[in-house]
Amino acid sequence: MDTPAVESHRGDRNPSLIRISDFDFSYGDKQALFDINMDIAEHEVTAFIGPSGCGKSTLLRCINRMNDLIESARIDRGKVEVNGLDIYDERVDATELRKRIGMVFQKSNPFPKSIYENVIYGLRIQGINRKSELDETVERCLKGAALWEEVKDRLDTSGLSLSGGQQQRLCIARAMAVGPDVLLMDEPCSALDPVATAKIEELIHELKNDYTIVIVTHNMQQAARVSDRTAFFYMGNLIEMNATDQIFMSPDKEQTEAYISGRFG
């Protein structure tokens, strides 16, 4: 037994893709995030955990500027950089940014259109209508989302006719179609049964070869299973961010330990 047979889970990190620095964020008078600093490495799964209202979803929605759509949302301080580019620079077009940073939501929300049209929605609204290109995208993305085999014979049926887990995978395929580098997932399994959840988790594990994934989850076991790094938030503060093994086996902070072991409050 000279060399370890199992890959080390605490090895070197991939290079950083998203850097959040000194980030303060408010909804109206209520500050939601306090002085967040973190690096999100590319081709890793980063999980955000913490109790409800801890700011984890808020931070996720800051990464693709979905919070722009909320009236009272305001950045007080700090930056979010992707590949070194400040995404809140006034020259940045938020709609273009969202094509590069896709998002999957808590409640699966396919459009009431066919499966085919759901996948290519992002292309259609860009004015892409070439049949061959659309066909290719549909097949590639549905395969990528591990849904192709289940739906290839009924691409023209409504996306809403699928089961919950299939719908969520359809939403992932749809997000992949616009060619993002990053996939943000906001509690993607919270409405799914364990089998559908397991499928999504398997998919996430596959997808990290091609995408950088940030996942918000209430389910700590899910964070433990799928993520490489875990960030624990509490009341708008980033309490601890570390390799997932480290967080779940020997966290540095007492608050983290209390939360993950269910001794909270």
Partner: protein, 353 residues
């Protein structure tokens, strides 16, 4: 069973068995009252409906082929001539009477009844034109403002004030709309009594219904669908165009069904702005320029009912006309409503979320 168990059971029996007879009586009385109220409303509606269908049916239908009173549905209102000729009693509209008299030399003594002969085709055409134009204008304006209110406007005091005034607009009596339409469109804009003045007056009247219902149905669309669209790089307008409007359409149509019924049925707003008591030409006849269509008055069913029931001496012949018109009017409103309902059902099926 142990003694303590028995005690518990007895106390349970006490509380569960035999509710007091008084509260049971009250229960029954109240229930009967509700039932009675509902039956009364149903009875009223049924009486009116049966009365119109029965009496109007006599005017509209015939016992022999083609079973429909074709003259009534395709002719203009005319004076009715009632006379005796060679021992037989005749009832004839003015135009028929004239051609009948051609071949007869001797003078015929007739009793004439204004508005009681001929048919109501110009009224049907006028009503259809009024409804169509008013609904197009109202839905365009209504949907535009609903989009603004639901999707673009910033929540605040001003928005609340706008909403409140729209709601208040719905409570304004229709005669006020009529007078406003006359002042604004007929006089100030110089459109005279015309189709277009009627359109805008009617449109203004149904706008509140359409705006609030459209806004409601747009807001009912899950935020998730909008979010999904934004997250795929869609702009706000793209999102509204592809992901809000199509799915709000069934709701908007529902509100427009109510709108159609109101537009078709209102008399007061059009009596000063669009309706003629009698016009020989159909709206599309005798136009010099195509857009003259908009600037001419039309006959309309509700106004015609008003005229034949309130403006002329009453007798058995006018009463026939009144019921016939009411019956046709009822039928048209029901048909329009039914077709909108069918359209809505089809859309619901297509855009179900």
């Amino acid at each position: 069973m142990s003694p303590s168990k028995t005690v518990v059971r007895e106390s349970m029996e006490k509380s569960l068995f035999g509710k007091s007879t008084k509260s049971k009586l009250v229960e029954r009385l109240v229930f009967a009252l509700f039932r009675l109220g509902t039956y009364f409303v149903l009875l009223c509606a049924a009486t009116i409906f049966v009365d119109i269908v029965y009496k109007g049916g006599k005017t509209v239908f015939r016992s022999e082929f083609p079973f429909l009173n074709v003259e009534f549905l395709s002719d203009s209102p005319q004076t009715l001539h009632v006379f005796e000729y060679q021992g037989r009693k005749y009832e004839m509209s003015d135009s028929n009477f004239r051609s009948f008299r051609q071949g007869i030399d001797e003078p015929i003594v007739t009793e004439t009844y204004a508005y009681s002969g001929g048919g109501i085709w110009p009224c049907i055409a006028g009503t259809l034109l009024l409804v169509a134009g008013a609904m197009i204008i109202a839905m365009t304006l209504g949907v535009l403002s609903a989009i603004f209110l639901s999707e673009y406007s910033r929540p605040g005091k001003i928005l609340n004030a706008v909403r409140l005034s729209i709601l208040n607009l719905a409570g304004v009596p229709s005669i006020v709309f009529g007078i406003f339409g006359m002042g604004m469109f007929v006089l100030a804009f110089g459109w005279n009594v015309s189709l277009i003045a009627g359109w805008f007056t009617l449109a203004l009247m149904v706008l509140p219904i359409i705006i609030s219902a459209s806004e409601e149905s747009m807001r009912a669309i899950p935020q998730g669908m909008r979010d999904a669209s934004f997250a795929l790089g869609a702009t706000q307008w793209t999102t509204i165009r592809t992901n809000v409007l199509p799915y709000a359409m069934p709701g908007i149509l529902t509100s427009s069904i109510i709108g159609v019924a109101r537009v078709a049925g209102e008399t007061a707003p059009i009596m000063f702005t669009a309706a003629y008591a009698l016009r020989d030409q159909l709206p599309w006849e005798g136009l010099e320029r195509w857009y003259d269509l908009f600037f001419q008055g039309v006959m309309a069913l509700p106004y015609h009912i008003y005229v034949v029931s309130a403006k002329i001496p009453q007798n058995e012949y006018t009463s026939r006309m009144q019921y016939g018109t009411a019956f046709v009017f009822l039928f048209i409103v029901a048909a329009i409503a039914l077709s909108s309902i069918l359209l809505r059902i089809r859309m619901r099926k297509k855009y179900r979320w």
